[in-house]
């Protein structure tokens, strides 16, 4: 269908994902930023069956290469590392905190849809372990309001813990329900060869792990990770030239909200997610009940609960119950984070949005191996920046 809606203005062509590639996520001590980007990009190009010479443009999502590895100007670096500098390919770096990957994908899709470019490689990358844990905490905190949150001592676990506390207060969500998110996502990650964690968890282990920001423990938090991910997109009408594995981009919504959590209309609702998903559903011409599975931004367990409510899968306040009831399990009604999510798979922040797109593509192509969900037509990716100041919701449709 012809895309419509706020983000669809001016879109003339349908867009397809024709190739995907990613590195393993984790503490990759022996791999550099350049190694990671090159590996993911080469795999995606290979998967798409194209050559470097076919690439019209590159988009690269990265939150804070400047602070994590002291390197800015990374878009040309990606081209250079891939050995394509003599092609003089236009390359653009996109930053939207942890939604950098998702926004890079949206910008790339917009460019192809608008007819500006045909074949785009869009990647996401973060090398987070070259600096100390304290420095990483401070770097991540720059995605919150530095002047009015970070300055006063709030970090990301703290901000999400405050959402969790309020959600518990308003809706009776329990610590155990939040822990179930981690248990489920770790179980899923065990089936994902690229995941950082291959270790099952129990609710007790989550509850009894080190307290980070009450009520969240260490096992409620996604880890600090290295990794890169890339996809190749092209106009849907040209996809057959390269692959039979095409997946259509049915809709993308992108929205923003106040940078500081305290200025939001409701602490327990990410209005940016509501707006972005409404735009994406409208473009795709579907509703939440048509979505067969989703990859959501579970940077903390509470974030997944908020996500599945704000995306319309469950009523506000029901996310915790739904999780505990197994509705979001791999074999549930609406599998959430079959890849393991950010929690189990790892969260190299700029890469996460692209890794979600990869999971949707693999599932919709039937290439997800042991974690394959059955009979899926629509998959949804939900990528959040900061405490919800940026949200990107992408809906992909399989062709099988």
């Amino acid at each position: 269908m012809a895309p419509t809606g706020k983000d669809g203005r001016g879109r003339r062509r349908d867009v397809a994902v024709i190739g995907v590639g990613m590195t393993r996520f984790g503490e990759l001590w022996d791999r550099s930023f350049r190694d990671l980007m090159t590996e993911a990009g080469a795999k995606a190009i290979d998967d798409a069956g194209i050559s470097g010479d076919d690439i019209d443009a590159v988009y690269l999502g990265s939150m804070s290469a400047g602070r994590f590895i002291g390197q800015e100007h990374i878009a040309p670096l990606m081209i250079d590392s891939a050995g394509l500098s003599d092609r003089h390919i236009p390359a653009t770096r996109v930053e939207a905190a942890c939604a950098s990957g998702g926004v890079a994908f949206k910008e790339a899709v917009t460019s192809v849809a608008a007819g500006v470019n045909d074949i785009i490689v869009v990647g996401g990358v973060e090398k987070m372990t070259d600096i100390s844990g304290d420095d990483a905490t401070e770097t991540l905190a720059t995605a919150a309001d530095q002047e009015w949150e970070g300055f006063f001592g709030a970090n990301f676990p703290g901000l999400y813990a405050m959402m969790a506390r309020r959600h518990m207060h308003e809706y009776g969500t329990t610590r155990e329900q939040m822990a179930e998110v981690a248990v489920k996502n770790h179980a899923n990650a065990c089936l994902n060869p690229h995941a950082q964690f291959k270790k099952k968890l129990t609710v007790e282990q989550v509850l009894n792990s080190t307290m980070v920001a009450e009520p969240l423990t260490l096992m409620d938090c996604s880890p600090i990770s290295d990794g890169a991910a890339a996809v190749v997109i092209c106009p849907l009408e040209r996809a057959h030239e390269f692959t039979r594995n095409k997946v259509r981009v049915a809709g993308i919504g992108h929205a923003t909200d106040t940078l500081a959590l305290h200025n939001r209309r409701d602490i327990c609702t990410m209005d940016a997610v509501v707006a972005a998903s409404s735009r994406a559903y409208s473009q795709a011409g579907i509703g939440p009940c048509d979505v067969d599975f989703a990859e959501v931004h579970d940077c903390f367990t509470i974030t997944e609960i908020l996500a599945i409510e704000d995306l319309g899968f469950f009523k506000k306040g029901q996310g915790g119950n739904a999780t505990a009831d197994g509705i979001t399990a791999r074999d549930g009604q609406i599998p959430i984070n079959v890849s393991g999510g950010l929690k189990g798979k790892g969260h190299p922040v700029g890469s996460s949005g692209i890794a979600q797109i990869i999971e949707l593509a693999l599932q919709l192509r039937g290439d997800a191996g042991k974690r394959q969900v059955a009979d899926a037509r629509y998959g949804l990716a939900h990528n959040v920046g900061g405490s919800g100041a940026t949200a990107v919701v992408s809906i992909l449709e399989g062709s099988q």
């Binding site: 304290d134 001592g153 309020r166």
Partner: protein, 134 residues
Amino acid sequence: MSAPGYWREIPQRYNLLASRCGVCGDVDFPPRVMCQKCRRESIGRMERVGLSGRGNIVTYSILHTGMPAFSDQKPYVIAIIETEEGPRLTAQIVDCRHDDVKIGANVKSVFRKVNEDGKEGIISYGYKFTLVKE
């Protein structure tokens, strides 16, 4: 924290200076140059007002691994506070038993050292909050 960056925010950080729209009367903290409702109509009509420093806790967390600059205070309490004038802000709750921190608890602002740029740099002062004893 750079000296100019700190200096620029002194009125807000020391005295909770907010803005009030001269058109609709909405109060914003930190002050805005333009009202979110009245937008351009409000330019040049934003007045400065001080918040009383009284409010209540909307939500909170006790941080056991906090921002590096606050590590000597661990575990410390961070809260979103709704001021009695309306605007919300994020601040530490200090001088309290952690068990006494509750959603809805009344708080008032105090003047504290928030941060320092090492032992040789600028000391940043600003607001924190304490529980109001009934």
